[in-house]
Symmetry: C2
Subunit: 267 residues, 2 copies
Amino acid sequence: MPRPELTDARRPLTYGIDAVNELGESVPTRIAGEHPLTIYVDNRELVTLMTLGGAPEALTIGYLRNQRLVDAIDEIAAVQVDWQVNAVAVRTRGGRGIAPERVDKRTVTTGCGQGTMFGDLMDELERVHLPGDARLDQATLYALLDAVRTHESIYKQAGAVHGCALARGGEILMFVEDVGRHNAVDAIAGQMWLEGLDGADKLFYTTGRLTSEMVIKAAQMGIPFLVSRSGLTQMGYELACQVGITMIGRAQGKHYLLYTGRERFER
Amino acid sequence: MPRPELTDARRPLTYGIDAVNELGESVPTRIAGEHPLTIYVDNRELVTLMTLGGAPEALTIGYLRNQRLVDAIDEIAAVQVDWQVNAVAVRTRGGRGIAPERVDKRTVTTGCGQGTMFGDLMDELERVHLPGDARLDQATLYALLDAVRTHESIYKQAGAVHGCALARGGEILMFVEDVGRHNAVDAIAGQMWLEGLDGADKLFYTTGRLTSEMVIKAAQMGIPFLVSRSGLTQMGYELACQVGITMIGRAQGKHYLLYTGRERFER
C-alpha cells in the first residue's frame, strides 16, 4: 500500500514583535506561531486545530489516529495542507469519510484536561500490552535528557510551546513542538504511522505534565517508557500503574523521580 | 431570579505517592488530583472533563458559559456534583436541555490548542468592547504578582496544575487551579457569573501561555488586562491587538513584558 500523498507545508515557526519591559525599554521578542488548521476529511469539516504549523501533515494523521477516527495509515490516500485557507484536505481510500458515530464519540470526549481520549479509551487500555522485557538504565536516561537539552528548540527562542520527543535509547528520532501539547503528541503518533515505527523499543519524552491523557497516548503508541520534565497527576499515576508503563518525571540534568514500572529501570 | 442550587463537592486536591530518585532513595511525593467529571444537562450527557475537582460547580457553569451553551446564569436552576459516579447534573429552568445545533457547534471547536472556542467566536470578538479608560500602573502590577507568589497553591505542593486569578488592582478575588488550564479559566468565568461580577475593573492572571484561546476568554469576560507568567503566541498577540486588550507576559517579581494595549498601562 503506497504512502499517502503529502504536502510539506510547514510554516515559519517564530515571529518577531516589539514589547516594552519594566524599564520602558523596547524589547524585540520572538513569539511562537499559532495558526488555525481546519481538517476536512473527504470534503467534510471535522475540527479546527490551533497549531504552530511545524508538522501539519503528521499532526493531521496523528489526530485522526489518536482520536480513533482512522484505524490504519493505509486508509489515508492524501493529506494536503493549504495555508492560504488554513485548511488540510484528507482523502481516504474509501472516499466515504468518517462514520458519523465515530465523530459523535469524539465530540463527547475531545478537550484539554477536558476529557480528551476518555470514554471507551479506558476500555481500550485494557487491551494494551507493553513489553515486559524492555529495559532502561540511568546512563541512557541521562543521555536522552542531554540530547533533549541540547536539541534546537522553538521553546528556547520563543517559549509558549510544548515539546515531545520519540527516542530509541538516548537517541532522539523525532522532536516536535507545538502550541498545544496534544498536537505535539499527535504529530509524533502520525509520523510513527508514516514511518511504520513500532513503540516497543522506544522512549517517549514530553516537556508537559504526566496527566491521564499523556499516559493513555503513550500506551496506545505501544511505548513502555514515558519521561517528563514535569510532574504527574493522580490519574496519570493510576493509569500508569494499570497499564504497566514505566513513568519517570521531574527528569532534568541528572535528577529524576521514577514513579511506576520500576522493574524495567536499572540504576 | 434565585441563584442556582449548588452542591459544594470539592475533592481533596493532592495525594501522596512514593517515588524513587536517582540515588535509589524512596521519595514521598505529593501529586495533584485528577478526576473525570461527566456533565449531564437535563439528563443528557454533554462532555467529560478531567479536573482537579477543586471547584466542580463553578467549572461546570463556566464551561457552559464559555462554550456558549448557556446564555445567562438565570437559565441554570441547579448544579449538583456526585463524585460517587463522577458526574454533575445540571438542571436548566426551561428543562429542555441544550439545543442540538449548539452542541454540534461545540464539537467542531472544542479542544486544547485544538481549536477550542474557534469558529463563530472570532466573529463574537468583534462585538467585544473593553473599557478604554481602565488603567494599570506598575506598582499595582507588582502588588498582584506578589499576591500570586505568596498565595497558597497546589502547584507549590504538587506541580502539574495551572493557576488563574481574578484580581481587582493588586487584590486577588478568586484563585483557581486545575490540571487543565482551560478548566481554571472556565471555573473563574463560572464563579464570576455566580457572583454577578463584571470584568471591566478586573485583571486576569494566568500561569499559562497567552494563546489565542486565553485572549478570547479574557475578552469575553470583559476583562481589559491579561497578565501571565509565561509568554505568548502569534495568534494570541494578533487577537489581543484586534480586541484591544492590555496583555503583559513574562511577569514575575519585578519583571514583565508589555505586549499590547500600552495606552492603559502607566509605569
